[in-house]
């Protein structure tokens, strides 16, 4: 589902974000991407989104080779990917329903599909009763649920989460993780960058650890750090 072959990425300011990374993630996996701030987790996710291009090495996502992909094909790639971020990225002037529907609207889905699908996915994330609320009226956890609903509404094959619990308290985070786990159980491959040790340790999933851009650990059913 996702493969990186000897990928190196150096930014223009000479910071090397990823060094010679090779990773393969298969369909339906749940992978934690851990490491300190600046270890290259976000760059990893940006490469999968083709928001950034690697300097060396090959990136494959959802059966597509991203190197040299024409820019007009990028939208097709992104329709196979859902994204969740620390800062939710919701539109303040749109209701919950409109925010989620927006993701379908702008890729040209017909009105009937939107009307049918959005309530379904809001049900899934447990926000059916907040359908008409605006993001400003929701708690952080609820906003992140909306964001997850928007990422998942088009049933992507891969869900990429960059610090999805970064802005949330521990109790709320547990709820979000339960939701992500449920989504993963539908067969969606899930990659989650985080430095929430508690979450990683309690979930016991595959852990990929990055340190200054290098892959230093790849462990099935892992924990956040050795001896830590």
């Amino acid at each position: 589902m996702i493969r990186l072959d000897s990928v190196t990425k150096t930014y223009r300011n000479q910071v090397t974000a990823l060094r010679d990374i090779s990773v393969e993630i298969t369909k339906g996996e749940f992978v934690f991407l851990v490491g300190a701030s600046g270890s290259g987790k976000s760059t990893f996710i940006k490469l999968l989104l083709k928001d950034e291009d690697p300097d060396r090495g090959e990136v494959y996502v959802a059966g597509k080779r991203l190197n040299g992909m024409k820019s007009w094909r990028v939208p097709t790639l992104r329709r196979d990917l859902g994204c969740v971020f620390q800062d939710f990225k919701l539109l303040e002037n749109k209701t919950v329903t409109e925010n989620v529907g927006f993701a379908l609207e702008v890729i040209g889905k017909p009105r009937q599909t939107i009307v049918r699908t959005v309530p379904e996915v809001l049900e899934l994330v447990g926000l059916r009763h907040k359908a008409k609320a605006y993001p400003g009226e929701l708690s952080g956890g609820e906003q992140q649920r909306v964001s997850i609903a928007r990422a998942f509404v088009n049933r992507p094959r891969i869900l990429l989460c960059d610090e999805p619990t970064g802005n949330l308290d521990p109790t709320t985070s547990v709820g979000i993780m339960k939701l992500l786990d449920r989504i993963n159980r539908t067969g969606t491959t899930l990659v989650m960058a985080t430095h929430d040790q508690h979450i990683v340790d309690s979930m016991r999933r595959r852990v990929i650890e990055l340190d200054e851009g290098a892959l230093i650990r790849d462990q099935t059913r892992g924990v956040y750090g050795y001896g830590g």
Partner: protein, 292 residues
């Protein structure tokens, strides 16, 4: 498809309202530039019309000395037609010239009082097959016994047309400068809108909206401003034709003037130009700003 069009219309309306002042400035600039350009085009149409009719009627006038004898006059007329360049020769006697003056300046008493048949020279009005041959005829008959002067009436017209052409060139030059300013304004307005909506476009990119889908509202916004400006310019031209030209028509009746139909011919060109210019300006300003 319905959802898509509603989305587009909505986005364009929001964009235009958000920068009302910038939009207004843009529309006014487009209006002024296209009105000038349109005026230039109408002047050109006017010149074409006038030239076609007036050049068809102009003649050479060969003014005769009062001392010319009847024999000299007959041989002059004979030699003129022998050149083979002449289509028509009309003799205008002093009395005829006087009647012509009375007709042309009818109502203008000061001129009429100062003119008598005696001071007006008799002349031949000569129509050439090819008006360009004036020099040949002039040089041949300038020194002819009994001839006072050979005058090419086209010269008088040329002066008029030179003024018209200068007017047209001036209008077009200013119009081009203004169009450049209009393009810059459109481009700037769109950048501001794109910046204000960067969150939204960011999300659109993430969920896989195509480049065109993201750009279209911005481009349509520019095109709307362009078309509104062009229509306003068309309105100004129509107003100008209805007031200025119509009044001239009443007073000057020897040349044909542009009509409302000509204005209607110019307006579609202006609309196309306005829309095209806006589309190009918008597209160029977005290329860097909104790429995936």
């Amino acid at each position: 498809m319905g959802a898509r069009w509603r989305y587009l219309a909505n986005e364009v309306a929001i964009g235009l309202r958000r920068n009302l002042l910038m939009t207004l400035a843009t529309v006014v600039t487009v209006t002024v530039s296209l009105a000038l350009l349109g005026a230039g085009m109408l002047v050109q149409l006017q010149v074409d019309k006038a030239q076609r009719v007036l050049y068809g009627e102009v003649e050479i006038s060969i003014f005769l000395l009062d001392s010319i004898s009847a024999d000299q006059r007959t041989s002059l007329e004979q030699d003129l037609s022998d050149t083979g360049l002449v289509q028509e020769i009309i003799y205008v006697s002093k009395e005829q010239a006087y009647r012509d003056v009375q007709e042309i300046f009818a109502g203008d008493e000061t001129i009429l009082e100062s003119v008598t048949p005696e001071i007006l020279p008799a002349s031949f009005r000569v129509k050439l097959d090819d008006p360009q041959q004036f020099e040949v005829v002039a040089s041949q008959f300038q020194a002819y016994p009994g001839v006072e002067e050979v005058v090419d009436q086209r010269e008088v017209l040329d002066k008029f047309f030179r003024i018209m052409n200068a007017l047209r060139n001036g209008a077009v030059a200013v119009a081009l400068l203004q169009l450049f300013a209009a393009a810059a304004l459109i481009s700037n307005t769109i950048r501001i809108t794109a910046f204000a909506r960067r969150e939204q476009t960011g999300i659109m990119k993430l969920v896989g909206a195509t480049n065109w889908y993201i750009r279209l509202p911005f481009i349509l916004e520019g095109i709307t401003a362009g078309i509104v400006g062009a229509l306003a310019a068309g309105g100004l031209l129509w107003l100008g034709e209805a007031t200025l030209v119509s009044r001239l028509k009443g007073e000057v009746n020897f040349i044909p003037f542009i009509t409302t139909a000509d204005v209607w011919r110019v307006i579609p060109v202006l609309v196309l130009l306005g829309a095209g210019l806006a589309a190009v300006a918008a597209f160029l300003s977005l290329r860097r700003f909104l790429d995936v």
